[in-house]
C-alpha cells in the first residue's frame, strides 16, 4: 500500500497518534502528527493507566484477543522505550462484596479459564492476606495476575519522543481545518498554519474524530464520555494490586498517590468536575479501603473518552477517499490498546495488511443496515 515517497499525516497527537508515528518510525517510515493543542493533552493524560484486558472484559472473542495481545506488549515496550513508563506488573483484585456479584464473578472466571487465561477465586481470608488494607467486609475476589498498570502520561510522551527520534514530526498547536482530495484520493491536510501534502491521512482525533471525518463527508460515530478521577496525596505503600469494585477502581501509583476512578457520563465536551462525582468516587474508595477515609485527596479531573456505539474502536481503511484511514474510538481502552494499534496500523500502511485482521474494526459496521454487535 505504502510507496516510499508516500507522505503520511496523522490527525491527532494523543496516545494513538503518537503510537502510530512511533511504530511507523520503527519500520523506517516518517510521518507528521498534527495536534491541536499539546501531545496527549486530552483523554491520554486523563487516564488512570490501568491495563486490564481480563477484569474489564465481559466475553471472549475478537476484541478480548486484541486487548490481550496489546497488554502482552508492555513488558518489552517498557525496556524498549527511552522514558520510564512506570510499568508495574502488579496484578488486579476484583473485589466481590455481595452474593449476586459473586455469581457474575464466577461466570467471568469460568469462561476466562476456558480461554486458557490466568484467574483465581480468592476467599475473604485469602484476599485479605494478599491485600490487608482492604475492608474486612469483602466476600472474596477474583485475582487476575496479568492485569497491570503504568503511567499514561509517560507512555504518551515516550511514544512521542521515540517517534521524533525515528524521524517523525510532531506539530503541536496546529488545528486541522480541512482535507483536500483529488479524484477520490486524499491530497492534503489543511491546518490553521498551512497546508501539508498527504498521500495517507490517519484520523486519530479521539473525541474529535467526528469533526475530522466530516471534512471528507464521513460520519464517524464517536462521542465524548466524561470520566472523573480523584487523586490522593502521596501515601506510604497501602496496597500493591489494582483494586476494582462494583463502584470504583483504585490504583496506588509508584510515587504513593492513590488514583480513584471513574465516572461514565454523556455530557458532551464538558470537562468540569462535579461535587457529586467526587463524593461518589471517594465513598467507593473508602468502602473498599477504609484507611483512605483519613487521607487528603488533592486533585480531581475529568477526561473525555472517545466512545463508539459498540465500545469497540474504529480502525483501518475507510470507505471514504482513498488514503483516508481511521484509528479512533478506543473509549476506555486507549492506553491498553495504544501499542497494538500503533503496530497494526503501521503494518497496514507499510505492508498493506495487519498481522491481526482489522476487518472487524472497520467503520462500515456502523453503516445503516449493518448489524452492530455489542461488546
Amino acid at each position: 500500500m505504502e510507496k516510499s515517497s508516500d507522505r503520511i499525516v496523522i490527525a491527532g497527537g494523543g496516545i494513538i497518534g503518537c503510537a502510530i508515528a512511533y511504530y511507523l518510525g520503527l519500520k523506517g517510515v516518517k510521518s507528521t502528527v498534527i495536534e491541536r493543542r499539546d501531545v496527549g493533552c486530552e483523554a491520554s493524560s486523563a487516564a488512570a493507566g490501568g491495563l486490564w484486558p481480563q477484569a474489564e472484559s465481559s466475553r471472549p472473542g475478537m476484541f478480548m484477543d486484541l486487548c490481550l495481545a496489546g497488554n502482552a506488549m508492555f513488558e518489552e515496550l517498557s525496556r524498549q522505550l527511552e522514558l520510564d513508563i512506570e510499568f508495574r506488573p502488579s496484578g488486579l483484585l476484583h473485589v466481590v462484596e455481595d452474593e449476586q456479584y459473586r455469581e457474575e464473578a464466577e461466570k467471568l472466571m469460568e469462561w476466562q479459564l476456558d480461554s486458557g487465561l490466568k484467574v483465581d477465586w480468592l476467599d475473604a481470608s485469602e484476599t485479605l492476606k494478599l491485600e490487608p488494607s482492604l475492608s474486612e467486609d469483602v466476600m472474596g475476589s477474583l485475582y487476575f495476575p496479568d492485569d497491570n498498570h503504568l503511567n499514561p502520561l509517560s507512555l504518551t510522551r515516550a511514544f512521542a519522543v521515540g517517534a521524533k527520534k525515528l524521524g517523525a514530526e510532531i506539530s503541536t498547536g496546529t488545528s486541522v481545518t480541512g482535507i483536500k482530495t483529488v479524484s477520490g484520493r486524499v491530497s492534503s491536510l489543511v491546518t490553521d498554519r498551512g497546508e501539508i501534502g498527504a498521500d495517507i491521512i490517519i484520523n486519530a482525533a479521539g473525541c474529535w474524530a467526528g469533526q475530522v471525518g466530516a471534512m471528507v463527508d464521513m460520519e464517524v460515530p464517536v462521542e465524548p464520555v466524561r470520566g472523573q478521577i480523584i487523586l490522593s496525596e502521596p501515601l506510604p505503600p497501602l496496597f500493591k494490586r489494582c483494586i476494582v469494585t462494583r463502584d470504583v477502581y483504585i490504583i496506588q501509583k509508584p510515587r504513593g498517590n492513590v488514583v480513584v476512578g471513574s465516572t461514565r457520563e454523556f455530557v458532551g465536551y464538558d470537562k468540569s468536575v462535579t461535587p457529586e462525582a467526587i463524593h461518589l468516587l471517594h465513598r467507593g474508595a473508602v468502602k473498599a479501603i477504609p484507611r483512605l477515609k483519613s487521607v487528603s485527596f488533592i486533585r480531581a479531573w475529568a477526561g473525555l473518552r472517545p466512545y463508539t456505539p459498540d465500545e469497540i474502536p474504529i480502525m483501518g481503511a475507510s470507505d471514504g477517499p482513498e488514503g483516508f484511514l481511521l484509528a479512533t474510538g478506543h473509549f476506555r481502552n486507549g492506553i491498553l490498546l495504544s501499542a497494538i494499534t500503533g503496530k497494526l496500523m503501521s503494518e497496514l500502511i507499510t505492508d498493506g495488511k495487519a498481522s491481526i485482521p482489522l476487518e472487524g474494526y472497520r467503520l462500515s459496521r456502523f453503516l445503516r443496515g449493518a448489524e452492530v454487535e455489542r461488546k
Binding site: 468540569s272 468536575v273 462535579t274 461535587p275 467526587i278 463524593h279 480531581a300
Partner: protein
Amino acid sequence: MKKVELAVIGAGPAGLCAAIEGAKHGLQVTLIDENIRAGGQLFKQIHKFFGSGVHRAGIRGVDIGSQLLDETEKAGVEVMLDTVVWGLFEDKVLALVHEGRSTQLSAERIILAAGATENALAFPGWTLPGVMGAGAAQTMMNMHRVMPGKKAIMVGSGNVGLIVGYQLIQAGIKLELLVEAAPEIGGYSVHASKLARNGVKIFTSTTIKEARGDERVESAVTVSVDENWNPVPGTEREHEVDMVCLAVGLSPLIELARLAGCGFKYLSELGGHVPLHDEKMETTQPGIYVAGDIAGIDEASTAMEEGRIAALAAAESLGRLGGEEADALKKSARKRMEEFWDGSFGRRVKASKESLSVKE
C-alpha cells in the same frame, strides 16, 4: 443543600469588611475561614496603621481586628471557622469541609477574600530549623508569645520585612542586619529609619547565600549582588545568627478564582497572577467578586475598602440597594482608597490595579 445570598471566603480585613457591609444592607451572609479564629493577619499586627482617620490610622491592627469581629457579630453574619473551601463548582456551589465532614453551600454571590501566601526563598540550608517566613515569626511572637530566636537576619526590605524586623527588636531579639537584593529599600522610609535608629545595619544589593548549622541555624552567609542580580564572588560575609527571617513578598491565593474560571493577568508588582476585576471588584465571572490581597498584594487598609465595595456591588445586584445610594457609597470607599494610594508607593499599586480593570 444550604443556600445563602452572599458567601465571603476569608475572614481577614477584606472578608470581615465585606461581610459586615453586606449584612448591613440586608444580605444573608456566611463568612468562611479555614483558621480556628477570624481576623486573618490583623491579630499579628501590633503596630499602628497608616493613612488618615478614615483609614483607622493610628489604631493597631490587632485592635482593628477586635472592632471588626464585634461589628461582624452585631451585623448578624454567620461565621464558619475551621472550614476549608475545597471546591467551587458550577452555579456558585461551594464545597466545604469542617471537622472531617464535607458539605455544600450554594451562594447567589461570592466574594473571594482568601488573601495571600508568603513567598519562600531557596538557598543551601533553607530547610534548617530557624529559617522562617516573616509571617511565621509574627505568629510565634505576637500571637503565641514565643521568641523565635535570639539573633536574627531579615531578608527583604519591603514593609513586611521592615515592620516585622522592628517587631523582632520589640520582642527582645537582636536583629543583626537586614539585607535587600535590590539597590534600594523597598518599604516606607519611616519604618526603615526606625530600624536604623535601633542600630540595625541595612545592606542593599545584598542577599543571603547560605544558612549554616548542624541541627539548626548557627550562622548565615550573605553576598553582594551586581546590577544583574548575580552574586559577586569574594563578597561573602558570615554572620552569627540563629534565625533567618524571610520577607520576600507575597503571592495572591488565587486557587478558588481559578476554579471559578476567572480571567487573570500577571503583574509582578501585585504579586503574580491576579484575577481581572472591574471597579466594583467583580471578576470576569458574573457574581464572583475579589477583595484584598487576592486582588493584588496591597495594604490591609485598601483591602478593607475593597471588601466594602465588593459587598455593596453584591447587595446592589441583588436589589438591596438603590443604584444611586450604592454608587455614592462605592465612590466614597474608592475615594478613601485613592487617598491611601496618594504616595509614590501607592501610585505604583494604583497604576497596576487599574491595568487589571475589565471594561463593563
